[in-house]
């Protein structure tokens, strides 16, 4: 029996470690999705930003955020941290950090091409120390009694298996706040109502980023079970179907546009996180398809009607498809629709709205504060030259600049 316990403990550490690494790999995906979508003069910045945000967030979440969300700290000897379960607590931290660090990675795509480097990193750190873990703890650790209240009131707590709301909607609405505080890129909109979208630099890099995200997403969702014994093949299946739904809807609604198709897959995956453990695969297909269509439609509204310069469209992608996922889980999770049941639509709506509201307000406060104190926007000249030369002193293809 000893052997079994040992094996089970080891298997769980492996399980979460694999999950953590798969989500870490998604961050490379975030980087390339942005590299491909921004203009060439901001490619390097996209890359360095993602890596730096990840690094700063690791330290911040370890020292502050994780304490806020789960009351767990790391100021103990290594032997204690390791404990009797082969350091399960450590890989759990790693896994959840990879979620937390997705917040700035999501935002990054929205505020691309015009934010100053260090102020942007500072804002990322602040968000991962406060707003994000606050909501994370409320939903996933039962902090502040919110979940208890929902359960008492509506009969079920807010269900968000892998973070449609906790991670994606929150990230997307924080991004919206950041984008609004920063304002549009130079020349994106004219005073007379004109709109000049900037074409992307590199579709293959964008697609590479999308593939890295798609593949890693199965770690994001499946490993949210947090133990081998808790694993569910349904989560994998539903993630697949939602991704497929997202692609198909975006393909049709977006007329085979490569940007829509590759982001449609992500919209589907964003939408399924919350209910991936309890909806039926066909439900997942529909959830993903609606996520994909929503993205295509709302991307246009964001850019052209609301005139919000959200470069990668992270608000429609994560903010809206994520909120839809939170709600959808309350619909398609019902047994009547083939789901496993145990969810309540009102709980889902209230929980989703709470996340969205907190993110929007918190985001406005943090970005406004950073902007008013140290300033978060590049100077016009720096923005014009591009963040690569302005911040990093080098472009994406330096050798080319040295020919004639």
């Amino acid at each position: 029996m000893e052997g079994v316990t040992e094996l089970a403990a080891g298997a769980d550490v492996l399980f979460l470690m694999l999950g953590a690494v798969m989500v870490l790999a998604m961050h490379g995906g975030f980087a390339f999705l942005e590299v491909g979508t921004v203009r060439h003069k901001n490619q390097v910045n996209a890359l360095v930003k993602i890596l730096s945000d990840w690094s700063v967030c690791t330290v911040v979440y370890m020292v502050v955020g994780y304490q806020v969300a789960y009351g767990v700290g790391f100021f103990a000897p290594a032997a204690d941290l390791l404990g009797a379960d082969k350091g399960l607590g450590l890989v759990k931290f790693f896994f959840l950090l990879a979620f937390a660090a997705a917040i700035p990675a999501i935002i990054s795509g929205g505020i691309a091409e015009r934010a100053r480097f260090w102020p942007q990193v500072l804002a990322a750190g602040l968000l991962v120390a406060t707003i994000y873990p606050l909501f994370e703890g409320v939903i996933w650790n039962g902090n502040l009694g919110f979940q208890g209240w929902l359960k008492g009131t509506f009969g079920a707590a807010f269900h968000d298996f892998a973070g449609s709301v906790v991670v994606h909607a929150v990230g997307g609405w924080l991004a919206l706040a950041g984008v609004m505080v920063l304002g549009p890129r130079l020349g994106r909109y004219t005073a007379t109502g004109g709109s000049h979208p900037f074409p992307p630099s590199n579709i293959p890099f964008l697609a590479l980023g999308s593939w890295m995200l798609i593949v890693g997403w199965f770690g994001f969702n499946v490993m949210s079970a947090q133990s081998v014994q808790g694993i569910s093949g349904l989560v994998a299946m539903n993630s697949l179907l939602a991704m497929v739904g997202g692609v198909l809807a975006a393909l049709v609604a977006g007329k085979a546009d490569p940007g829509f198709a590759h982001n449609g897959a992500l919209a589907g995956l964003v939408a399924i996180c919350a209910g991936s453990d309890l909806v039926h695969p066909f439900g997942a297909l529909v959830i993903g398809a609606i996520g994909g269509a929503l993205f295509v439609y709302m991307f246009h509204v964001t850019q052209e009607r609301l005139r919000i310069d959200d470069v990668l469209g992270v608000w429609p992608l994560h903010g809206l498809a994520g909120a839809w996922g939170g709600v959808a889980c309350g619909i398609f999770g019902a047994e009547a629709l083939g789901g496993l049941g145990g969810v309540n639509l009102l709980s889902q709506i209230v929980g989703t709205l709470a996340g969205v509201a907190l993110a929007l307000v918190g985001g406005l406060v943090v970005y406004k504060a950073v902007d008013l104190t140290i300033g978060i926007r590049l100077s016009e000249e720096d923005e014009y030259r591009g963040a690569d030369l302005a911040v990093h002193k080098i472009g994406a293809n330096p050798e080319e600049r040295h020919g004639p």
Partner: protein
Amino acid sequence: MKLIIAIVKPFRLDDVKAALNDIGVAGMTVSEVKGYGRQKGHKEMYRGAEYFVDFVSKVQIMIAIPDHLVDKAIAAIRETAATGQIGDGKIFVLDLAQAARIRTGETGDEAL
């Protein structure tokens, strides 16, 4: 007929083109070039090493044009390409001995 070769800042191209269109210049040929002049290049840094990029990106516009439009064209280019900053560029005018349209074989002003 003349051949105008103008070197301008890349981001002025669209305006220059529009202005030339307005005065009746129907065609032009454009290429990416690197300029060297009073406007100096810039310094880049990579892994601690400095790289001087001597050359500045410019756009070259080549226009074959009937004689009577030359002055108008020069004026149009100047008005739209000038930012008042060093590096705005140059306009060169050459005599064009002959011009032909490949498709029809028309020559002279007809060909432009």
